[in-house]
Amino acid sequence: MRDVGLLVWLRWRHLRGRFVYWASIGGADLEDGSLTNRLYAFYLTLIVLGWMWLSASAAIDIAYDAGSALGTAAPSIAFQALEALPLSLFAGLAAQALRSSPIKFTFAEMGYVAATPLRRSAIGIIECTSRMLGIAALTAVLTFFAAVAFGGAPSSPASVSPAVRAALAGALAASGATALAWTLGLARMRVRRGRPWPWGMWLLPLGLPLLAFLTSAVYWPGSALTAALRGSSAAAPLLFLGAVAVLGMMLVYRFASRLDVVRVTNDSTLYAQLQVYRPLRLYDPAALRDITRRKKLATKRPRGHLPAGSGAHAPLARALVSHLRQPASLLGALLWGGLIAPAGAAMLLAPRSLFAYLPWVLIVLISPASGLVQVFAQDVERPSLRELLPFDSLTLLALDSAPVLAVMTAASVLATMLQRLPLSTGLLVLLLDLLLDAAFVLCRGLELTPLPGRQHSLGYPVTIIVTAVIVLATGASTGLGGACVAAASCVAVLGALLRQT
């Protein structure tokens, strides 16, 4: 118990630190005990509580209205989904726990927790509880609003109680699912001399919901959850879900006692490395995604080999091997080539007012496009290597982005074929798709390279909005042919600008 107490204290200190941080963002210094600061902290607390109360009330109203608007069929679908929730949650968490250690240490914890004689079971139970509380809270909110939406209007505190009971059932179901999933993960991470579990084991739990669906098996925890939601019998489902959660925690305690902390530490390396970048989640999620991608890539064995190729073929070969090793980088090309560009071209098939194009322009503006020039970005961000490549920026962008452009072209061709347009119209739509594809890549490329004599580059929002407005305005007044001419002109200008950099 002493170890559990120590670890709880450590968690509390972390939580307190985080609370102090968020309070400081709100302008309150909790470390400063002066009267004015305390008064301000009190005022801030009132403001935040008031805001939370109003937000919760508004959310309840919205959930109720949404439930009423969805009609009579919606509750049964929602209840079916909720019935499957505990099993699906267990399957997802178990797959995660079997793939990589459920317990993760930061670098500090490796030194001050893992490398100490603290009891393994204490570490396991505290880590599991910490994770369980987060998941249970999220599920409780979900089931609460599901109960509000499909269970009736919360007109008085008494009428809210079924929803609260449902939230409690959701939290207990999620706790049980988390604890049982962790049990599997901890069983894999226990000290043993024999062969490790096969790597593909983590795929097995993913088949559970499908198996349950195919065999029409009864989801006991799910049924208990929906029973609590319906309010048919108050105590029995809650007792059952609570018993599952307690059993899960006992198993966690049992299996954690033989935890192999060395293996856990090995599994935690990437997590620990990324820990220092976590604040970026709020300020710059794209940067965090990029760092995570790079760190994950560094942990993998290089896939394939750099194909042979001299001169201009060398960057092309590099681009190919880069996408082979990071195939997810081509998903963006599929999205832009198969959906966004064809949507823009298809809008010009019928005459519309210019305001009708606004949503498409917004989508073009906010959709993640950095993956289109991922290889080129690596070149320009590394001057020591860029200086060794004897190609101007336009040529290098074309070579680096050739695989992306090929995927975009294939996706655009497929999207055009699926529209079943007359041949002449289809060809014009396809041409416009391809020109838009090229424009997207060029606009992204221009953003990465400063213009000659200037420190700054032409930002993507500027170039893409100007391009989109020119193409759409021309297309709206002159048709697809005019849009193609306008798009070709934009591509030529963007290319000429990039060549100068």
Partner: protein
């Protein structure tokens, strides 16, 4: 030391960073076949000077000429002949160390230098590790890989920022031999360093302090100064400046 035309001419460059001057009218030349050591305390402006000399940073005033052309407006072909290895060289995330070398050499139609590059890899002791991503390398290994790439291209001007800092003593000796061999083939080398291998004897020292050159072109073998003792040379120059100021 062979006397030849200057490969790199830095003339009266000034550089401002966030309003503060980092370099004050610095001028220097590097000729073919010579190794020039740039010596100075932290923050003296060595790295900034090297970045300006490589054409990576544009000086606020003054010019940089390499091989007779102003570097700022030079074609890519010329820029390939002026190579800077920074103290923390960056690499692609998705190419292995060996693939970096192959890629750069192939892009420049220099495949015939692959065997020489392999020899350099072996000489620096990173041949067996070169099939992994550089992101898994230690700092010294990353620097060695950057050196191999730079040396394999055989540039006319080689600029090195702290080359001996991150690497082990054995590799440092190997590097000095390699640099001397490159210089004998006509390469001009300007390197900044706080420490040199024992056997190293640069052709000239340039001492930089607060963005000014204190002792331009001081010969390595001047006076009683130990040619390898960068610390002693720097202290002597700083003391001389203090005495001048007092006088």
């Amino acid at each position: 030391m062979p006397v030849s035309e200057p490969l790199l001419v830095v003339r009266d460059i000034e550089y401002d960073y966030t309003g503060a001057a980092v370099l004050h009218g610095v001028s220097l030349e590097v000729r073919a076949g010579e190794i020039v050591a740039l010596v100075g305390r932290n923050g003296a402006g060595k790295s900034t000077l090297l970045r300006c000399a490589a054409g990576w940073s544009a000086p606020t005033r003054g010019t940089v000429h390499a091989l007779g052309q102003e570097l700022r407006y030079a074609e890519r072909e010329l820029r390939r002949n002026v190579v800077l290895v920074t103290d923390t060289p960056p690499f692609y995330d998705d190419l292995t160390g060996r693939e970096h070398i192959r890629f750069v050499l192939r892009a420049n139609h220099l495949e015939d230098r692959l065997p020489a590059a392999e020899q350099l890899l072996a000489g620096f002791g990173i041949s067996s590790a070169a099939d992994a991503y550089p992101s898994t390398f230690s700092r010294g290994m990353r620097y060695k890989l950057a050196l191999v790439i730079a040396l394999a291209v055989e540039p006319r001007v080689l600029l090195l920022d702290e080359p001996f800092g991150p690497i082990d003593p054995v590799s440092a000796g190997e590097l000095w031999t390699t640099l001397r061999a490159a210089a004998s083939r006509g390469c001009g080398i300007l390197l900044s360093s706080h420490q040199l291998p024992e056997s190293a004897l640069p052709d000239r020292y340039i001492i930089l302090e607060d963005g000014n050159i204190l002792a331009p072109g001081a010969p390595a073998d001047a006076g009683d100064t130990n040619a390898c003792d960068v610390d002693a040379i720097l202290r002597a120059a700083l003391n001389a400046r203090t005495e001048d100021a007092d006088a």
